[in-house]
Amino acid sequence: MADLLPEHPDFLWRNPEPKSSYDAVIVGGGGHGLATAYFLAKNHGMTNIAVLEKGWLAGGNMARNTTIIRSNYLWDESAAIYEHALKLWEILPEELEYDFLFSQRGVMNLAHTLGDVRESMRRVGANKLNGVDAEWLDPKQVKELCPILNINDNIRYPVMGATYQPRAGIAKHDHVAWAFARKCDELGVDIIQNCEVTGFVKDGNRVVGVKTSQGTINTEKVGLCAAGHSSVLAEMAGFKLPIQSHPLQALVSELHEPVHPTVVMSNHVHVYVSQAHKGELVMGAGVDSYNGYGQRGSFHVIEHQMAAAVELFPIFARAHVLRTWGGIVDTTLDASPIVGTTPVDNMFVNCGWGTGGFKGTPAAGLTFAHTIATGAPHKLNAPFSLERFETGALIDEHGAAAVAH
């Protein structure tokens, strides 16, 4: 029988042994780590670099998110970086020569209260001033765009309108990771899986090496892209990060024929829904309230999310939950990421993307690569420094730009 099986398709990347030294080491082989390595190689000519992944490539939050891509954030700093990301998403399939099914089917953010309506209209205005496509839809227009939504006003959270970003959408997350990994490999980047970082080697206050489960690797520079585990790595390196790790859950239904033409998010009831290319309904919830590293959360969070989803989409009542899972998200108190330098010389950190890191992948990679290569932040990530918690120049996106990412 075995000889009847087809050949294994071509591998998209090598699995090299780690070299004894690199010009830079990226810790974390998820979307952000791979994108960073790609832009380091492409934009800065740094090809003698490695991406270390403790598990398998893109097996953390990159495998667990709900793949929503949008840039309708309230504040200028956020709109700038997320809109840049969206523009990169639009050209990356061609640049990476890999179709990751980026589908610009639009994202709707529902408003359920008068407060929501006011906040949403304000955000639409702010978005337009920042060159981000945004519209305000009344309930009738919401229904026209997404006919399966219940817009009756006799439900617990009636739909009073929505913001709509037509250029937003979804992409196939695994394919995004593979596209970056394949190009990284072509450019000479070593992607090393099953290689857990266990410590750092420092010369004074300068990092000079990484201790791993596959031995010590010398390096000029280290970039941390470990999302929920960033605090653990920072602790090893001897500094603190103002982040808290929480479980965030999502789920899918069995396959259905296409019923849901866009992406619908409700920040008020914390549910966001799209239909994947294959046909599963993909839904995300809010974070569990407690700190956790367990990659699973409590069932009542899912129950609450389902109750909201079924009320908004009565057609979902007969669908079945096929799988639920959790990821560990690194939240900051202003719900904005941290991309920049650290108190340790030659060590850089990209973290705090919380519940919304997937959409930021290309811009995180671009700006973090710039920061690592030049030692100073790109103008897009300069406001997202670790120092903002001391200067008070916070970028408070909590409640401003749709907390549910």
Binding site: H229, S231, V232, P242, N291, Y293, S298, H300, L333
Partner: protein, 113 residues
Amino acid sequence: MLLISCPNCGSRDETEFHYGGQAHVPYPENPNELNDVEWSRYLFYRENTKGAFAERWLHSTGCRQWFNMLRDTVTYDIQAIYPMGTPRPDSPAATSSNPGTKPGTTAPEGATK
């Protein structure tokens, strides 16, 4: 769903409780003397422990009392539940008579019984 043993009401579902984050974070003794870095540590920096973590919970739909909990953030096992104002049970201070660090301002008197 965590099953939490409230010190006053007994075992109840997690949905009856409210999470209060890291325990044992005292308000600065001399707020006027703090510089920006020290304020940022008090306002924005909390431990993000992978493992045994001391945290505050409020039984919001029960007795409405705060208490502390020692919980593993990987297995989610609850290792100890103890009154606010007392040191964490696995610390050296717990064995002495020192009442330890006074927690924040939110603890009602009844929580320390």
